[in-house]
Amino acid sequence: MSDKPPIITFENITKRFGKMVAVDNVSLSVQEGEFFSLLGPSGCGKTTLLRMLAGFETPTEGRILIDGQDISAVPPNKRPVNMVFQSYAVFPHMTVADNVAYGLKVDRVPAAERKRRVEEALELVQLGGLGARKPDQLSGGQRQRVALARALVKRPRVLLLDEPLSALDAKLREQMRTELSTLQEKVGITFIMVTHDQDEALALASRCAVMNRGLLQQVASPNDLYEFPNSRFVADFIGTVNLFEGVLAVDEPDHAVIKSPDVATDIFLDHGVTGASGGVIWAALRPEKIELRKRPDGSVAPNLGDAPQGANALAGVIRHEAYLGGESIYEVEIEGGRRIKVKRTNLTRWDQEDFALGEAVWLCWHACSPAVLLS
């Protein structure tokens, strides 16, 4: 896939609104057929980046290439991209079919072909037979499908989606998420989606770019973003994480040890650390990667096998519990008063009763579980 030239390239894109820097020297490329996601908290510049691609904003610096062509001078109505707006922006004075046909009429597609393509597009988003409806007779989810059909019927090189699921309720969001992904596979068009919802990005995207304050933080597959974040920001923004600040005490090619004043145990890693300059580093440990064990009086620290005795194990007391049905989230207070989040899948119907508030527990984890962060 990477041998092919990218369909979209952002080259050192900077966008300033007055003194505010919305996008700060972002370089990024998207390959054909990808479901690419721009992810970040609100105000991180992701929407500005998308709007620059659509042509509604002009970069202050840098170039945007589509299929290798600089499109800086191309107005929005001449770009081979189409957008699904956050508000859907379905024309309220036109029927569903007229909405979808709008872009085809502009392109002077003959009436017969236009009719056929409109029907196909409506079929594709499962709105077949609703062409005569007016937008105010549709639900929010249906209006979004109109917006999707209207953009897809133009057969764009790239489909841009601005927070496509944010206005839907939870159940519908789940359903649309699956549908979007099926739709992308079916039409084979490159999708670029802006979202602030990390679950949405992880579930849908083949690759994500995480942004914060106009800066690109990391571009990676959802799996890599979650398991191998490159900064505390990414680790914390994607999912939940326990962060331990410390220094590298041992750094060998096949193992390393982080000593952290936060915890009364060595954090043992089964790999060496590259790029650490001897300063402060962080170990990031996801709640589901910590195992919870009972701690009767006089018990010794458990050992998961790949760490020396006493490392990767903490004594604590359960202080809070959130039962979520399929899983439970425990907050375990360790020595020094810090609370560690632990997630435990309820494998049987009685699992949840195993650990009670105030119970003494051991927390332990594998040597491969913590991610090491240098920034």
Partner: protein, 301 residues
């Protein structure tokens, strides 16, 4: 327990009473009297006997007066059309101006409102009359042109003939457009300003140019604003009195001028009243048409 004030009858009456009383006493009652006059007949100089006759109305739709009604409607319609053509780009420009410029532009639009109509009309006379500012400027240009022509050794272009800009229908239309432009611009602006910008972006995104976006998206969605702008301009223009009186010539009198003459010089109050009510019925019809149109297009609201 807290009750809605609309349910507390005493409060409701106290709040509604005075304005209702005011309206009935100073609007409905006099209007009713004039209405009654329109079915009466002059006896003597000041006395009117109520006879229940329709003669006044019959006279009001005689060709002589019907022509003036039609002409008034035509002048008001032309004024409204010109206001729309001039006002729409202005309203569009204000909508898309920066927040800071917006306030100033709106102020400029409303500024004439705060000046007396009579003063504004006399100012227009000063601009338009034979020795007015337009003719003065044109005269200078003509004179300058003549001097250049003389220098170049061309044939002299003769003396400047001032344009007849005042006391004709042109002056009336110009004055009416000038006076009524804010009535058109403000409702248009408020409709355009409410327009969801992402609809315009969606149109561009789908490949439409600026012109197509204007006529397929902006204008249809601004229709309620256009309708109320048209109505709010047409109605006062139809009943315009001062502008045709001061700027018009002998053939530019509108229905309000005729009505005025019935009440004053002709001293025929019953006929004046009938003419007034015909004008009012026309207004009601215009309002009804607008209401009907806005009901037909609920999605455009």
């Amino acid at each position: 327990m807290e009750v809605s004030w609309t349910k507390a009858k005493a409060v409701f009456a106290a709040a509604l009473g005075p304005p209702l009383f005011w309206l009935v006493l100073f609007f409905l009652v006099p209007l009713g009297i004039v209405w009654a006059y329109s079915f009466g007949r002059n006896v003597g100089l000041t006395e009117i006997s109520f006879t229940g006759t329709f003669a006044n109305y019959a006279r009001a739709i005689e060709p002589l007066y019907l022509k003036i009604f039609i002409k008034s409607a035509w002048v008001a319609g032309l004024t409204t059309g010109l206001c729309l053509v001039v006002g729409f780009p202005v309203a569009l420009a204000i909508t898309f101006a920066s927040e800071k410029a917006k306030a100033w532009l709106l102020l400029l639009i409303m500024l004439p409102f705060w000046t007396n109509l009579l003063i504004r009309t006399y100012a227009l006379i000063a601009v338009l009359r034979t020795e007015g500012y337009i003719n003065m400027s044109l005269g200078w240009l003509w004179h300058g042109g003549g001097m250049v022509a003389a220098l170049l050794g061309l044939k002299p272009i003769g003396d400047f003939q001032p344009l007849e800009l005042l006391h004709n229908n042109f002056a009336v239309i110009l004055g009416l457009v000038y006076v009524h432009l804010p009535f058109m611009v403000l409702p248009l602006y408020s409709a355009l300003d409410r327009l969801d910008r992402s609809l315009l972006e969606a149109s561009l995104d789908l490949g439409a140019g600026q012109m197509r976006t204007l006529f397929r998206i902006v204008v249809p969605l601004a229709l309620p604003g256009i309708a109320s702008g048209v109505l709010i301009t047409f109605i006062p223009a139809l009943g315009a009195y001062l502008t045709p009186d001061l700027l018009g010539g002998p053939d530019s009198q509108m229905i309000a001028n005729v009505i005025e003459r019935q009440f004053k010089r002709a001293n025929d109050w019953p006929f004046g009243a009938a003419l007034s009510f015909v004008l009012m019925y026309l207004t009601f019809i215009a309002i009804a048409i607008q209401a009907l149109m806005s009901r037909k297009s609920p999605e455009a609201r």
